[in-house]
């Protein structure tokens, strides 16, 4: 047995080496740098946990983290919900051109975030598609430069996330549903369950694993978001769409405060780990 497990470790080794080299070592390095006051070139000075206390006390950083929570709703909760509805509807009805719809809804996943960002920036502009649609239906009064609006910029970016992540969730759940034993549905129908009842009694419990995967992926995307903010608003207007990922970039590359940037990065990593751990715990036990 011992020899066997040794062989097993040997199989893991190549993958682990790559993982260690490109994930664990940089992670450790980041944590190490976060304890220094360092500008990126000259000799750094040891500051212990000062970077952490300083960044935690910074209202801008705290706002950035609170924006992450808003993103959690738009990037994770909403797409998972939408994905569930879409998947159960699409799997119930034999739609003509199902493959086509699936592809269209999944497509945003395939497009690079930068392209997504620039396209949406144009759509949200004061003369962009969104406002044209609004005025076409007589809602001119609502039209505005969405990304420049202090109230609407953050939800507007969030909706881009919803648009990107929903397709992924849907495809994930469709695959999950096809795996559920058809006899369960039959039994439910024989017992007189309607579509809603059927959804809660059969589909939802059957999708537990897929939900865990979907929530994990979307949560990570929500919390680490950077590219979308970078190409659309740059954190503005004011700091209305600033997120931790962008704050890290500003600190490290624009302000030369590498230590502080690493401290925020470590906090973000811890937050992501915690949330993901929570998700896997919850979905393993309940539902």
């Amino acid at each position: 047995m011992r020899a066997n497990s040794r062989v097993a470790y040997l199989y893991i080794l190549p993958g682990f080496l790559v993982f260690a080299l490109f994930v664990l070592v940089p992670l450790g390095h980041t944590a190490w740098l976060s304890l220094y006051d360092w500008d990126g070139i000259t000799l750094g000075t040891w500051t212990g946990l000062d970077n952490y206390t300083e960044q935690l006390a910074d209202p801008d950083v705290r706002t950035a983290f609170s924006h992450s929570m808003v993103f959690l709703f738009f990037f994770a909760a909403l797409p998972v919900g939408l994905g569930l509805v879409l998947a159960s509807v699409l799997s119930r009805f034999r739609l003509r051109g199902l493959g086509f719809f699936r592809t269209v809804i999944f497509l945003p996943q395939v497009v690079t975030a930068v392209v997504v960002g620039i396209a949406w920036r144009w759509m949200y502009a004061d003369e962009g598609t969104i406002n044209q649609l609004l005025s076409a239906v007589g809602l001119d009064g609502l039209a505005r430069a969405w990304l420049g609006d202090f109230t609407w910029a953050l939800p507007a970016l969030g909706l881009v996330g919803t648009w990107v992540m929903s397709g992924l969730c849907m495809v994930l759940f469709l695959a999950g549903i096809s795996k559920i034993d058809a006899s369960l549905y039959e039994a439910a129908r024989v017992d007189g369950a309607g579509p809603v009842r059927e959804f809660f009694a059969v589909t939802l419990p059957g999708l537990k694993q897929e939900m865990a995967v979907g929530l994990t992926l979307t949560t990570i995307a929500a919390l680490r978001s950077f590219d979308l903010v970078y190409v659309t608003t740059g954190g503005g207007p004011g700091n209305a769409t600033n997120v931790p990922g962008f704050e890290i970039y500003k600190l490290a590359f624009r302000q030369g405060a590498v230590g502080e940037a690493c401290a925020v990065a470590v906090m973000l990593t811890v937050l992501i780990f915690t949330v993901v751990l929570l998700i896997t715990r919850l979905l393993r036990e309940k539902l």
Binding site: W32, L33, L35, Y36, W38, D39, G40, I41, T42, L43, G44, T45, W46, R121, Y124, A125, D126, R144, A145, W146, L147, G148, D149, F150, A153, T233, G234, G235, G236, P237, G238, N239, K250, F253, R254, Q255, G256, A257, V258
Partner: protein, 449 residues
């Protein structure tokens, strides 16, 4: 979980190992520091690399000059490498500290690039070359100071010279000639009140008085800083940017300027979509005729001239009192510095000198550089925005009125000031709040508030 002695000991051990070595490197002296400088060139084959981020015509001018230099000195090759500005700033520190650092590199003034590089001892002081080649006579007063730094890299504007620039940039007022004619507005404006009257007139006629694409947050700051240049005594403004002791943003001039910008926004003088429109899209709107004026920099000039073909003009932000010196936000373009690691500092200095010699002024001017040296570089096309720009530039230099850029003051000034200007324009913050936020950052970073 409780902290056992073992975990405490473990943590202490980790802390001990971690503190033992710090990231980065202590500054080193240049290998041949103290060696006499010379304008004599070597006879053996020499290749120098030059890193820059100048785009379009300005980048082409550098390549042309490098080729011309090689024709004159067949044994010397200058290899220019272009990197887009967005990446350049992030890589310059790594690049200059690497073993294969470029011999010559463009390094933006102040804390944006030059400060950290000087602090790390990666740039070579150029004062002896300045003496050798007579640079202080060649360049107009005040221009070289922007590239001076104290040896510790903390304060700039005085100290040793670390770079030479090829041209200048400037913020002022672009205007749409057709619209001015229709509204009966004439330029130049004799004073700020005249400009404000023009804005009111444009607004009353249903036009967008000032076009502004401020999604990136920095463009709006140029409107503010051009106003500050009028209201704030010139020396005070410079002292603040240079980070000199006792300077403050909380002064009557800055207060007046900030209040004026807030009033303009409130009165609807600034495009209401400003914060949601990118700089480039804002310029596009101005070109298409949305906006009577646009307060922006010389970097947008060639696009405007190409697309508006004689329908656009440029004038200075007028002084508060008619007849006062002309002042504007502006500076030299990012100067060229010599790496402390180069084996051929004499050749590098000779090439930098070559680029700024009078005989090459025309090449630089055609590339789109605003001339920084005392010389006649060429004539802009009549009726173009370039014509107004060059004229304004000469006036500002003659009056020694370049106000520099506010975000130079500290490494995080841009990230503090720009979002605040977005808030000010949207009425989400007050002038007083903006000023105190900015001054707080200045005092924190300078440690001498």
């Amino acid at each position: 979980m409780t902290l056992t002695t073992r975990t405490i000991a473990g943590l202490a051990l980790i802390a001990a190992t971690v503190t033992a070595c710090a990231p980065g490197a202590a500054p080193t002296e240049a290998p041949d520091a103290g060696k006499a400088v010379s304008s004599a060139l070597p006879t053996e084959p020499v290749t120098l690399t030059l890193s820059h981020f100048e785009e379009g015509g300005q980048g082409k001018a550098i390549e042309q000059l490098a080729a011309k230099y090689q024709q004159l000195h067949p044994n010397i090759t200058i290899k220019p490498t272009y990197t887009a500005f967005a990446d350049y700033g992030k890589n310059i520190k790594l690049q200059m500290s690497s073993e294969s650092a470029p011999d010559i590199a463009q390094a933006g003034q102040a804390q944006t690039m030059q400060g950290p590089l000087v602090q790390a001892g990666l740039l070579r002081p150029l004062d002896e070359y300045a003496k050798l080649y007579g640079w202080s006579e060649r360049f107009k007063p005040g221009l070289l100071d922007q590239a001076r730094f104290s040896k510790d890299g903390k304060t700039f504007g005085t100290g040793e010279l670390y770079g030479i620039a090829l041209g200048g940039n400037l913020v002022g007022i672009y205007y749409n000639r057709d619209k001015l004619a229709k509204l009966g507005i004439t330029t130049p404006f004799k004073d700020l009140a005249a400009f404000q009257d023009a804005l009111a007139k444009a607004k009353a006629a249903g036009e967008t008085p000032i076009q502004l694409g401020n999604l990136e947050a920095w463009p709006g700051n140029h409107v503010l800083s051009d106003l500050i240049a009028q209201y704030e005594p010139h020396e005070n403004g410079l002292n603040w940017v240079y980070g000199r002791k006792g300077a403050t943003f909380d002064s009557p001039g800055v207060q007046q300027a900030t209040k004026t910008l807030a009033e303009w926004a409130k009165a609807g003088y600034i495009d209401s979509s400003a914060n949601g429109t990118s700089d480039s899209d804002g310029v596009g709107k101005f070109i298409k005729g949305k906006g009577v004026f646009m307060v922006s920099g010389s970097w947008n000039r060639s696009r405007i001239d190409e697309n508006m073909d004689g329908k656009a003009g440029f004038t200075a932000m007028p002084p508060v009192k008619a007849g006062d010196p002309v002042r504007a936000t502006g500076a030299t373009t990012s100067p060229f510095s010599i790496s402390a690691k180069t084996k051929y500092p004499d050749v590098a200095a000779n090439f930098i000198d070559f680029m700024t010699r009078p005989e090459n002024a025309a090449t630089l001017f055609q590339g789109g550089y605003l001339p920084v040296a005392e010389r006649d570089a060429g004539e802009p096309k009549a009726g173009s925005a370039q014509e107004g720009l060059v004229e304004t530039w000469q006036q500002v230099l003659a009056d020694d009125g370049l106000a520099l850029y506010l975000d130079w003051a500290t490494p995080s000034m841009g990230d503090t000031l720009f979002p605040a200007v977005q808030q000010l324009i949207a009425g989400k913050t007050t002038p007083d709040k903006l000023i105190s936020t900015v001054q707080e950052n200045w005092a924190d970073e300078r440690g001498n508030g």
